[in-house]
Amino acid sequence: MAGKLKLATVWLGGCSGCHMSLLDLDTWLIDLAALADLVYSPIADQKHFPDGVDLSLVEGAVANEEHLALAQEVRHKSRVLVAMGDCAVTGNVTALRNQLGAPDRLLQQIYVEHGDARGVLPAAPGIIPRLLDRVVPLHAVVPVDHYLPGCPPAAPQIRALLKALLSGAPPPAGGRFG
């Protein structure tokens, strides 16, 4: 194989717990660095998602316009896309707000009615992305190749998936859902 593989990790609407689990791989991260270059990640200093990524792990549900645009860009520029963790796979905790109605009403309740005396709706166009009407799992907006459930997935599960996919093998079967 010519050159190292390009690996990216993406953080959408999640708590970053899946990335903490990735970091729990400890010294295996050194082995991983020999297999692949981390070209985009919340733990790497890279502002734009690059072209020609071999494998992208996406944490989090799609909850706002920025998540949606990034998910589409990541899909477009990635050969293999993995929904990493329950928020990306099911919506999970991020999607709990779906039961509570439209986001405008929620923001009003949280920031104005239950906020302090000067409570205002957060509004900064171009800085704070607008919430989508509903939080959806990753596969609801882009095609997903593999699913890694768990809240968060345990580090050994992430390692098993990375080992398989980076060597071109199918991902390990079994485990547990949710």
């Binding site: 929904a83 329950d86 796979v89 099911t90 919506g91 999970n92 905790v93 999607a95 709990l96 779906n98 039961q99 509903r134 799992p137 596969h139 609801a140 997903v144 593999h146 699913y147 459930p149 809240c151 079994g174 485990g175 547990r176 859902f177 949710g178």
Partner: protein, 235 residues
């Protein structure tokens, strides 16, 4: 008792007359996924997971309710059945709010296990995200309708094993809910003996013992069969 000979997935199986396809298959070591079925309780065929193909029948038949017959040819794992089962489990996940990460039963849940068993990796349908209540008016137990799959195992355990029938089902379709004493809060349902058999029978985190938090719930639904078997001497 008369014996019946049939084939299940090409395997020659001998069963007693009156046994169901599910019993015959399990005796022969052939696994058919189930959810509403629980040994010790009557079968109702509500969840449709155990549907099988029987040669000569244009309809799929529930293995838990269909008696074996001589020369019957049964298929339990065709591509069509597997696709149906995967879709059924996905629909169960889509219909209520099964948020495993914050559920008392996570890791001890028959719905989670079924997802793995039928090869479900994600839910292809839009989640309905209904508003569901949680009733913790009972001093010992709670019912979280977000996690209920309407299998009615609680209803049957309460009626058939405890002999009380505190539980029943109200409403239709996606609005159906299990209820206590004609819709009273559980804590006010005076017929309830607080025996906990509904808790034993529940396959998910819908009925829980109060004070158990995420992933702490453990139970053994086989206790229902033990209770029923140990009563047979006297009753």
């Amino acid at each position: 008792m008369a014996a019946r000979t049939l084939t299940i997935d090409g395997q020659l199986v001998s069963a007693r007359a009156g046994e169901t396809i599910l019993e015959a298959a399990r005796d022969a070591g052939i696994a058919i996924p189930t959810l509403c079925h629980l040994e010790g309780l009557s079968a109702v065929g509500a969840c449709r997971l155990c549907l099988v193909e029987v040669v000569g029948s244009s309809r799929l038949l529930p293995a838990c309710l269909t008696p074996v017959s001589e020369g019957m040819e049964v298929r339990t794992a065709s591509e069509r059945l597997q696709a149906n089962r995967r879709a059924l489990v996905e629909l169960l996940f889509a219909e209520r709010n099964h948020v495993c990460a914050v559920c008392v039963a996570s890791g001890n849940c028959e719905l989670q296990n079924l997802a793995v068993q039928v090869g479900m990796t994600h839910v292809r349908y839009a989640y309905l995200t209904p508003q569901c209540s949680v009733d913790i008016s009972h001093p010992q137990f709670g019912i979280d309708h977000n996690r209920c799959v309407l299998c009615t195992r609680c209803v049957r355990a309460c009626d058939e094993v405890e002999g009380v029938h505190t539980w029943d089902v109200a409403g239709r379709g996606v609005n159906a809910r299990v209820i206590t004493d004609l819709g009273l809060p559980w804590g006010e349902a005076t017929s309830c003996t607080s025996c906990g058999k509904c808790l034993l029978a529940c396959p998910t985190g819908a009925i829980f013992r109060r004070g158990t938090s995420v992933a702490e719930l453990e139970r053994d639904p086989r206790r229902i069969a033990v209770i029923v078997a140990s009563r047979q001497e006297r009753w």
